[in-house]
Symmetry: C2
Subunit: 402 residues, 2 copies
């Protein structure tokens, strides 16, 4: 069969995190690995009400095909909310829906990247993004980051290096708010600095804001201002999703971007999946129309805020002196850097069978292979009691090795 495969297919690999799935998702394991939102936050009662009303009104039509760019009313609602909640003004022509932000990622990448083109990502970076770029045989270049964003000097140097090697630097990919995996949030200065580099070096910026609405108490949403509104030059593609704030299984995300690029994304989506699930779009549209979204997101914020606080307490109790961490200001992830010389991937394999605790080792997130002493703890799907016990035990095991 090998002889029939495309060049893309020959390089496709399952990520290390994927390979760990079977190991870390065993039911007897306290898992800080799963990056999914907590199903308790999904408003199933409200969806049920909407479902009944929809089917009474439209009968079978809610199961029919819909248009490629997305339900036109949902596009309007998303544009309206984008302006209200994130201060992004995008025209109809600059807006498209996708079947989840993973599809958005692939569509954006397909219309922009040829094999060998360079994409600049943070160290560490979201695995789903890295895999998307690699599946298209793009060159994924890691850029150092601090807690307040991408190291712009390192970015400049890397761009120039790529260019000097004859490759084409094209895209900067970043999750500026509560990044997966680091939990870090970019400073306003870093955001505008990035746009400056993009302008100077003639690059596009792909701003993935999957987590920006999940800010915790104490954060002024103004700090989370997306890059899009400052984007006089039309260089930013902004993506966000209903997956974390509402429900991922409905598979609906949205993209605001330059009209010319959005038009190509639509053409790519035509053959990628023709249209996004109609039922999913309609459930979300009605949820927005009924004014249920903002109070709902407020509850979701509170839910994760409490979880994050529980985890921070547990870390302070048991990780003090053996690790460095910073409680995130939002999102689903706690990033931890161990002070001792511990390879967290090996460590995971050593402890999981006996102690039934799982996390994601940090190194797969680093495209340059670094980060061996880091790990990601997701707090979204673990009860406060298990956070306490699991993190406690983990701290003990780390301390024994430090």
């Amino acid at each position: 069969m090998e002889r029939f495969l495309s060049a893309d297919a020959r390089v496709m690999r399952s990520s290390l995190i994927r390979q760990l799935t079977g190991l870390v998702n065993r039911p007897d394991v306290t898992s800080f690995a799963a990056g999914s939102p907590n199903a308790e936050t999904f408003p199933h009662e409200q969806f049920t009400q909407i479902y009944s009303d929809l089917v009474a009104r439209d009968k079978g039509k809610i199961f029919q095909y819909s248009v490629t760019r997305g339900n036109p009313e949902l596009i309007e609602a998303v544009r309206d909310r984008g302006q209200r909640v994130k201060n992004i003004v995008a025209s109809q022509e600059e807006t498209i829906l996708a079947s989840g932000s993973q599809q958005g990622m692939e569509l954006v990448s397909r219309v922009l990247l040829d094999p060998g083109d360079a994409v600049f990502v943070e160290l560490p970076n979201f695995i789903g993004a890295t895999a998307t770029f690699e599946n298209l045989r793009a060159r994924v270049v890691g850029v150092r980051k601090t807690e307040s964003g991408m190291d712009l000097d390192d970015l400049r140097a890397k761009v120039r290096q790529v260019r000097s090697e004859g490759a084409k630097p094209k895209l900067i990919y970043a999750i500026p708010n509560f990044q997966n995996p680091s939990g870090h949030t970019w400073s306003a200065e870093n955001r505008s600095g990035l746009l400056e580099v993009a302008n100077q070096e003639d690059l596009l910026v792909f701003e993935d804001d999957a987590y920006g609405e999940l800010y915790f108490s104490g954060v002024a949403p103004n700090d989370l201002a997306p890059m899009k509104p400052d984007d006089g030059d039309g260089r930013v593609i902004h993506m966000s999703t209903f997956s974390k704030i509402l429900a991922p299984g409905l598979r609906v995300a949205w993209i605001f971007g330059p009209q010319e690029i959005v038009r190509r994304i639509e053409l790519a989506k035509e053959t990628a999946d023709l249209c996004t699930s109609t039922l999913g779009q309609l459930l979300i549209l009605e949820f927005l129309n009924r004014g249920w979204m903002e109070p709902h997101v407020e509850r979701v914020r509170g839910f994760y805020d409490a979880k994050s606080a529980a985890m921070d307490r547990a870390l302070r109790n048991s990780f003090t002196g053996v690790a460095r961490w910073r409680k995130p200001d939002g999102g689903l992830f706690q990033w931890v850097e161990l002070l001792g010389d511990i390879d967290t991937l090996k460590f995971l394999h050593e402890i999981i069978d006996e102690h039934k605790i799982a996390f994601i080792p940090g190194s797969p997130f680093f495209v340059d292979g670094s980060g061996e002493n880091t790990l990601r703890l997701s707090f979204s799907n673990v009860s406060d009691e298990k956070i306490d016990a699991g993190v406690g035990k983990l701290g003990e095991l780390i301390r024994a090795r430090s």
Copy 2:
């Protein structure tokens, strides 16, 4: 922006049929253009019952992410039904679900086709397939067909021609049952003959069976036997979908194929959309588990059988002497070849404003640009009365030009 686009994006075009959408879908028009199944056939009452039971049992979990390859129980149910209904034996490793067959088409194409690789398609061919191959810059080669299948001599000649030009012949794509757009069904002889050519010429076969279950009275399903069971050599990728027999808006299709290829499809799907809509998969799984599928499909067959008969009656009344057609034995489409020298694309533009009747001109389905005197009439979404009046008027207008 142009300078940022990938080579794929630069060739992406909206198909002529897409461009006609606005024109032919006006509410005041009797449209034989829409290829979608009729929403009246979607079992919304049964889905509502299932939805209530699911949410009572699993609450928010029905809105959570699911696994990339597809819900494991639905995969089992699809394998079981594939064996029962189509006599296809496929292992778990040879089975994957996709977010609709359009996604299946793109995933299969992405793992197999490099730019310039040749795909052999029928003349005429399904537009969604042609667009998918073209978006990946494959070379799409049209092969003559008869009412009983692909002309295998022409196929052999085209394969050798492609090879002599230094390109790589890779894939034969076909819809052997009630093809979109021609409505034709391949003979058993043609099916086995195609496999022979594939073996001799070392090609893969992509069998798209979107319509095979929608056979009308008088057809023995044995005639519709898929190529997969005869596929000793592992050359056939078989795809089918719940879109026509159940509901397209749920976006669920399935693929049976060689294990090595299915594994790559799964890797490609990981970055294409991570997972198919969970709710859609669960609605279908329960529908199957409750034994509702076979009686439902039986009703759907009857529905389209009656529509097709109504169209055939109308054609006999008004197209006799000016056109050639054959009532299809299943599916959603009536294909018509005009005897006179009429360009159906021009004809459509001439009549639509005044007479408010629409159809799809045949030429966009022909990758070699032929077929100017053909058209596709879809009977799925038009009432019997409007079929009668619309086809009658159309016949009158054609007669005036013949």
